[in-house]
C-alpha cells in the first residue's frame, strides 16, 4: 500500500509541478477581457506612492469617474480599483486592505443592490483566472463554491489561457476581445474610457426597465454595515481615511425605492470612522446621462459626477486630510 500511495503522491506532485510551471509563465498581458483589467489596477496600486486616493466599487466607478481630474484637483495620486459589482463587497475590501498605507484615502461607491450582500461566483472565478493572486482575497464563504466545487474549472481555464498566450506569443496574436468594452478601454488610472463618445446603448424609455433592481435577499442586508464598520475601524487604526459616495442613479429609482435607500443611508451614517461625503440625492443624474444601465454614466455624466466628487472631497483632503497617524496598542 505504501508503494501505491507513494506512486500516487508522486503523480499528483508531478501534475502540481507542471501547473506551477504553467502558472509561472502565465502571461495575461495579451488578454483583452474587461475583467483582465484587474491585473493593471493591482499593478498601479502597488506602484503608486502614498498618500493616495483609492476608489473602490462596482462598474459605476470605472464608468463614471475621471481620476485624472480628481488627481489634479486633490493633488494626490488616484488609483481607480473599481471594476465589477459582482465581485462583492468583501472581495473589494480585501483586495486593497494589505496595501493600505498611512495617509491614504479610500473612497467606496457601492451599488445599491450590493447592499444585499451577494456576489457572483462566476465573476470571482474570472477575476482569479485573470490574476491568480486574487485567490488570496477569497473568504471562507467563497471557498466551497469557488474552490471545492468549481476549482477544476478555474484551473482548466488558466491552463487554456496559458496555452493560448504561449501560442499567441509565437504568432503575435492577442486573444479576441470577449466584450465590447475591452481591457484596452481603461486609461492608466483605471477609468473606463471606451464608452466615451459612443452612442448610448439604451433608450431613455428603456432605462426605466433597467434601473435599480432590488436583490431578493434582505435589503439592506444587516451584514453589509457590519463589514463596512470592521473595515472602517481597521482604516482608522492604520491612519487611513475611509469615505463613501453614493452611486449614480436616475431619479425614478430613488422615487421607487425611497425607503430602502433611506435605510441604506442611515445605516452608513451610523458607522463610526466612515465619512459619507454626499447623499443619494446628490448622485441623481438626468436619464440622458446614462450609457447602458442605471449605474453607468456616459462621458458627460462622468464629468458631472467628477465635478461633484471634487467639490465633496476637496474639504476632506484640505481640511480633514488623512487621519492622524495610528497609535499602536501599547500607546507608543
Amino acid at each position: 500500500m505504501r508503494t501505491f500511495c507513494c506512486k500516487l503522491a508522486a503523480f499528483a506532485l508531478l501534475q502540481l509541478l507542471m501547473f506551477a510551471v504553467l502558472l509561472r509563465h502565465y502571461d495575461v498581458s495579451r488578454e483583452t477581457n474587461y475583467l483582465a483589467a484587474t491585473a493593471d489596477k493591482h499593478r498601479r496600486l502597488a506602484h503608486t506612492p502614498s498618500p493616495r486616493l483609492i476608489i473602490l466599487g462596482g462598474s459605476n466607478v470605472p464608468f463614471g469617474i475621471q481620476s485624472d481630474r480628481l488627481e489634479q484637483a486633490l493633488s494626490r495620486p488616484v488609483v481607480n480599483m473599481g471594476l465589477v459589482a459582482g465581485a462583492g463587497l468583501d472581495f473589494m475590501l480585501r483586495e486593497i486592505k494589505p496595501s493600505l498605507r498611512r495617509g491614504d484615502l479610500v473612497l467606496l461607491s457601492l451599488e445599491y443592490d450590493q447592499f444585499g450582500g451577494g456576489y457572483d461566483p462566476n465573476i470571482l472565478r474570472q477575476l482569479i483566472v485573470f490574476r491568480p493572486a486574487n485567490a488570496c482575497y477569497l473568504q471562507p464563504k467563497h471557498f466551497k463554491k469557488l474552490v471545492l466545487d468549481r476549482g477544476l474549472i478555474t484551473v482548466g481555464e488558466i491552463a487554456r489561457r496559458s496555452v493560448a498566450a504561449s501560442v499567441a506569443r509565437f504568432t503575435s496574436q492577442g486573444s479576441a476581445p470577449t466584450l465590447s468594452l475591452p481591457r484596452r478601454g481603461f486609461n492608466e488610472w483605471g477609468d473606463l474610457r471606451a464608452h466615451y463618445g459612443q452612442p448610448r446603448r439604451i433608450a431613455l424609455e428603456d432605462l426605466e426597465h433597467v434601473r435599480l433592481v432590488p436583490p431578493r435577499r434582505a435589503w439592506p442586508n444587516p451584514e453589509v454595515p457590519t463589514v463596512l464598520e470592521r473595515f472602517a475601524r481597521n482604516c482608522h487604526e492604520r491612519g487611513v481615511l475611509f469615505a463613501f459616495t453614493f452611486p449614480p442613479q436616475p431619479p425614478q429609482s430613488l422615487r421607487d425605492y425611497h425607503d430602502a435607500v433611506s435605510r441604506i443611508e442611515r445605516s452608513l451614517r451610523a458607522i463610526p470612522h466612515l465619512l459619507v461625503v454626499d447623499s443619494p440625492q446628490v448622485q441623481v443624474y438626468d436619464p440622458a446621462l446614462f450609457f447602458d444601465t442605471g449605474y453607468h454614466l456616459t462621458g458627460p455624466g462622468a464629468t458631472l459626477r467628477t465635478d461633484r466628487l471634487i467639490k465633496a472631497l476637496r474639504p476632506v483632503c484640505e481640511n480633514g486630510g488623512p487621519m492622524p497617524p495610528a497609535v499602536s496598542q501599547d500607546g507608543r
Partner: protein
Amino acid sequence: MSFASVVFFLFLPVVFCLHYCSSRRQWQNGVLLAASYFFYGWWDYRFCGLMLFSSLLDYAIGQKLATARHATQRRSLLVLTLASNLGLLGFFKYFNFFADSLVLALAAVGVDVNPTTLPIVLPVGISFYTFQTLSYTLDIYRGQLQPRRNLVEYLTFVSFFPQLVAGPIERATHLLPQFAAARKFSPEAAAEGCRLILWGLAKKMVLADNLGGIVDSAFGHAASASGAALALATVCFAFQIYCDFSGYSDIAAGTARLFGIQLVRNFAYPYFAQSLSEFWRRWHISLSTWFRDYVFIPLGGSRDTVERTSRNLLLTFLLSGLWHGAAWHFVAWGALHGLYVVASRWLSRGAPAERPAVPGGESLLPSLLVLWRMLRTFVLVCAGWILFRADSLPTAWEICRRIAVQGLSLDFYASLWRLVAEHQIVLVVLGLFVAAEWLGRFEWNPLPIRRLPLPARWLSYTALFWVILYLGTQRSADFIYFQF
C-alpha cells in the same frame, strides 16, 4: 459532492487512508458509512435524513420478514415495503406530475379543478437507493437472502458513496457479502480503480460536457433550430448521455475498487449492439436486470403466450420510462423501446436469439451485415433519444418532423457538414473515442495502458489528465442521471 470537483479529490484520499487504517471490518464499514453520509450531505444535509429513514424502514421490514411465519403476514410486510418505498419515491418524484396530469385529464372531460402543486425538491439519487433498498426486502421475501443483523453493514450497503447517486443499482446478494468481510488492500485493484476513475472523468468532462454544448444549443431552441442542427444534436446527445452515465459508472466502479469492492458492470459497449434486445443487455445493465427480475419475471416473463410476453415487455418498459423522469415524454420513450423490443421479437420469431459475446463480433472490422445492423439499431435508439431529451411530446414530434422533412433536401447535408466543421475538435475526439471503444471492446474498458511500461503509462495518464483539464472544463454540468 460531484466526482468532477476538487473536494472529491481531497475527500477520496482521506477516506482511503482512514479505511485502511485498520483491517477490522467494523472500522472499515464505519468509515465508509460516515464518508457516504458526508458525501451525500454535501448537496443538502436534509437529504441524509430521508435516506436514513428509508434505509431503517427496510432494515426493520427485512428483520420482520425473516421471522414472519404466515404467508399473509409476509404479504403484508411486502405491501408495506412496496408502499413505503414507492410512496416516498412517488411523493418526491411524481406528486406534481400526477397532480398536473389529473388536472389536465379532468379538464379534458369538462371538470375544472384548481391545480395543487407543491414546491418539492427532488433528493439526489432517490430513484437509485430506493430501488436498492427495495431489492433487499424483495430478495428476503423471495428467500434469496438472509436479513442482515449488522445495521452498519446494511446502512453502508444502501449508502455506499461511489454508487449512491447514480448507480449502478447494486443487489444486496452481490454487494452485502462484500461488506461482511474485511477488505485487504490490493495494489492491482487500486491501480485499476485509478485508471477507471481517470477514464470515467475523461468521458464525462471531455466528451459529455462538450457534446452537451451542441445538444443544448439545438434542443434548447428547438422551435428555431434547423433540421441539420437537431439531427447532429440528437447523435451528440446519444453520446453525451452514454459518456456521462458510463463515465459516472466507471468512476463509481474505480472508486469502489480502491476500497476493495467490486461493483456490477453497468455498460458493455451498447452502441455496438446489433438489435434492440442486445442494446438493452448492454445499456444501464443494473437497471435493466432490476426491472427484469422484479417486474418482468413476476408479471409472467416470457413463459406464457406471445401476446402476454408482449404485454409484460411493454409494461416493463413503460415503468422504466417513468422511472427516468416524471414527464410524459419519458413514458413515451419507454413505450417506444417496449414497442421496438416487442416488434423485434415478432419479426425474429423462430430464429435463434443471437447473443454475441463480443459486441460487433471478434474481427477487427465488422462485416457489412454487422455494420448495417449496428447502424440500424443506433438510428432507432437515437429516435428514442429525441423523446428522452425533448422538453415535451409536441416538441419531440416537431423535432422528428423537421429532421425527416428537411432531411429530404440537399441543403440539410450541406448545413450538417458546416455544423460538423464548426464543432470539429469535439467531434474528432468523439471519433477517437468510438475507435478506442471498438478496439477495446473485448474487455471491461478500453484501456490497454496497464500493459505498457511504467514511463509510457505515466505519460499516458499525464496526457489524459491535461486533456481533461484543458478540454473538459469549458462547461460545468452535473451528471445527467443525478436528476433521476
